[in-house]
């Protein structure tokens, strides 16, 4: 048979790639062969590579490949991911001014700003921790203020493996708000979510309005892990994240693997990307 006859009518999709072997069968080709045909596209889909890797995510959709502060997609790290690597989405909730952003800033950058502005702008961070034999990469979501008028999108807690509910120990109102968030998470969130209650601004002992005892009792009743923190002095900040990392459930079978994040593929990572496709 002539090559013409064997050619598929949608061969235009694969124009360069279709080949026949000696017996005249069509040999399926690799995508890379015709990739250059479509220079107009900026989109590369990166399926999550190893299934071992995916097995580690149980609570939440597969990891985002985009990292936050660091800019372009962090694909290389994908290649090194082994058995004990976990990605975990972590959300922060709490009253305005309780110190959510300050806690993240302390944890991610080791900084503290006396006049931290109400959160606008970068509200997505990532930080990796080594815990025992595993590494946990936290994807940290700050609220961006949507909760102020009770308008937080459910997407915010969707797939979150952990939540830190923050209140300010100098404000009883902020403690009351924290309890509301706990209720909301119990209703909406993932039932296996690891929840931490953080009484922040522990350095302001002389202005304290919420006793540690009161908060501890509440936390115990609700199955939360409790700690008092200070983003200012750094007390208990890293420890809180470590403790969460330790408590994250390991190696549960993935409910639904294989989601992918769309990224604008940077040139230098083309190799890593093609190994995934």
């Amino acid at each position: 048979m002539s090559r013409m006859l064997l050619s598929p009518f949608v061969k235009f999709l694969f124009l360069e790639g279709v080949e026949q072997n000696q017996k005249g069968e069509v040999v399926s080709e690799k995508q890379n062969k015709y990739k250059h045909r479509f220079p107009s596209s900026s989109l590369y889909l990166l399926p999550h590579i190893s299934s071992i890797f995916l097995c580690n995510f149980s609570l939440h959709p597969p990891p985002s490949i985009s990292s936050s502060l660091s800019g372009p997609a962090d694909i290389d790290s994908m290649a090194t991911i082994g058995h004990n690597n976990l990605n975990a989405k972590l959300v922060l909730l709490g009253d305005m001014g309780a110190g959510k952003s300050s806690l993240v800033l302390r944890f991610v950058k080791g900084q503290f700003l006396e006049f931290q502005e109400s959160t606008i702008g970068a509200a997505f961070f990532s930080q990796t921790l080594a815990v025992n034999d595993a590494t946990v990469k936290f994807e940290i979501w700050d609220t961006a203020g949507q909760e102020r008028y009770h308008s937080l999108a459910p997407m915010y807690y969707r797939g979150a493996a952990a939540a830190i509910i923050v209140y300010d120990i100098t404000s009883t109102e902020s403690f009351a708000r924290a309890k509301k968030w706990v209720q909301e998470l119990q209703k909406q969130g993932n039932p296996n979510m690891v929840m931490a209650l953080a009484g922040n601004k522990a350095d302001l002992e002389d202005k304290r309005k919420v006793t540690a005892e009161e908060a501890r009792v509440y936390a115990e009743e609700n199955g939360l892990f409790f700690t008092e923190t200070s983003a200012k002095t750094a007390v208990n900040v890293n420890d809180t994240f470590y403790e969460i990392a330790k408590r994250l459930p390991r190696a549960q079978p993935a409910q639904n693997p294989a989601g992918m994040v769309l990224v604008d593929r940077p040139a230098e990572s083309s190799q890593a990307a093609s190994c995934c496709s």
Binding site: M4, V10, K11, S40, L43, P266
Partner: protein, 444 residues
């Protein structure tokens, strides 16, 4: 709330949320309100309880369907072209980081009473019964022409000016039969009716190229992708973008009455006795019913099933296009099916939609050919919704109203509407091609 904003956006549908995000990123002070207590307006995804409230007037879905929370049923179902404009906007705005996608298993077409796979690779094409061998040979020549066609390179034009030559004339040159034309026009170029035959061929050629580029993005069985947890995630993701750039969000605001000055210019929005002032109002048609007109209606059926659509190789996500000619109708009918594999239903359940531009007042009988392809269903809801478009003059009243999600539920037209509105509001053109240079840098 008693503040002054550059823009107040009403309704949190996808279009409004994309605009809100783009405007906030531009540094404008945005207040975004919705009368509902959930995001998404018409483009939300509902859980079972919400679905029952909306279509059955009660909130008691049968327990046999599983947990309400496990359902995310799109109100405007559609798949995204892997290489389409919406994807470009997602990447341009970096909203992709909030979303997870999965490829759609297959695209099918209804032909002479049967459902056939639209071939996604050479092997499938070879086996496909959609065309005879000689027709395949003729079609191949046409596909090669389309593949090589480059608007800016006259050598690829074979002496034709595709902005003048009609699609009918172009296809005639290749001697394709009506069946093939139907297939190309509806299953690949994704036209909704046959008007394209008399229109300049350039549009069809571009659509075919888009299809092939999208299919080449991944070695899946279709050119489509779809977000985990349903399309309702999209407006939420853009709303977060807006909030991250300082946009203020208020859901559950009743009334949202737009206030005008003596000249008829929008000056603010009142809700619950408080008025927020603004320079411009952006909204969906439901917030300014006096400034829109009805342009059509969509008939649809929403079904919950316990099996995939028959004859689609057990695809857990699939589209079936029923070209109008195959049904003796004026517009195409679409089946759309998604399942637990995209986290829109509990394990073992499938959500199927049948939709078309309504031609009668009886959606049940009109949609029958599509519903017949589904097999037994656990639950079915019929619905007709009306589509509106704005009739106001935004330069006079400062009201920027989106067009209803058109019958096509077409992201391309959705995004075009958004981009046009963005230009009207800001006087600027959003340049999505900036992404393209990054892409060429990524070439091997």
């Amino acid at each position: 709330m008693d503040e002054e904003y550059d823009v107040i956006v009403l309704g949190t549908g996808l279009k409004e949320c994309i605009l809100s995000g783009l405007l906030s990123v531009d540094g404008l002070k945005v207040l975004h309100m919705d009368r509902n207590d959930y995001y998404g307006g018409e483009s939300s995804s509902l859980n079972l309880i919400q679905l029952w409230k909306r279509f059955k007037g009660n909130d008691k879905p049968p327990a046999s369907l599983g947990s309400s929370r496990d359902y995310n049923v799109d109100m405007i179902p559609k798949f995204m072209m892997a290489n389409g404009t919406l994807v470009r906007v997602l990447i341009h705005t970096d909203v992709t980081k909030y979303l997870y996608f999965k490829a759609v298993d297959g695209s099918y077409v209804f032909n002479k009473g049967k459902v056939h796979k639209v071939p996604a690779n050479d092997v499938e094409a070879l086996k496909s019964p959609l065309m005879g061998l000689f027709e395949k040979r003729r079609a191949r020549k046409f596909f090669i022409f389309v593949q090589d066609y480059d608007e800016n390179d006259p050598r690829t034009h074979e002496g034709m000016d595709l902005t003048r030559v009609t699609t009918r004339e172009l296809i005639a040159k290749y001697g394709l039969d009506d069946n093939t034309i139907d297939f190309i026009g509806h299953a690949i170029a994704l036209h909704r009716d046959d008007c394209y035959l008399n229109e300049p061929a350039i549009d069809t050629v571009k659509r075919m190229k888009l299809y092939s580029e999208s299919i080449a993005r991944f070695q899946g069985g279709s050119p489509y992708i779809y977000p985990l947890y349903g399309l309702g995630e999209l407006p939420q993701a853009f709303a977060r973008l807006s909030a991250v750039y300082g946009g203020t969000y208020m859901l559950n605001k009743p009334e949202c009455k737009v206030e005008f000055d003596e000249e008829g210019k929008a000056v603010g929005v009142t809700s619950e006795g408080e008025t927020a002032r603004c320079k411009k109002v952006v909204c969906d048609p439901s917030y300014l019913p006096n400034k829109v007109r009805k342009v059509g209606r969509v008939a649809r059926a929403i079904c919950i099933m316990s099996h995939p659509i028959p004859n689609t190789s057990d695809s857990h996500s699939v589209q079936v296009i029923l070209p109008q000619k195959q049904l003796g109708r004026k517009s195409d009918m679409y089946l759309f099916c998604c399942s637990y594999s995209h986290n829109v239903a509990p394990k073992g359940k499938f959500i199927a939609f049948v939709s078309t531009e309504a031609e009668t007042d009886h959606p049940e009988s009109e949609l029958k050919p599509g519903i017949d392809l589904l097999g037994p269903v656990d639950e079915i809801f019929y619905d007709i919704y009306e589509r509106f478009e704005p009739v106001n003059e935004p330069s006079l009243d400062q009201c920027f109203i989106s067009t209803s999600y058109d019958a096509t539920t077409h992201f391309e037209s959705t995004v075009m509407d958004v981009l046009n509105m963005y230009t009207m509001i800001t006087g600027k053109v959003l340049d999505l091609s900036v992404d393209l240079s990054a892409a060429s840098a990524a070439e091997e």
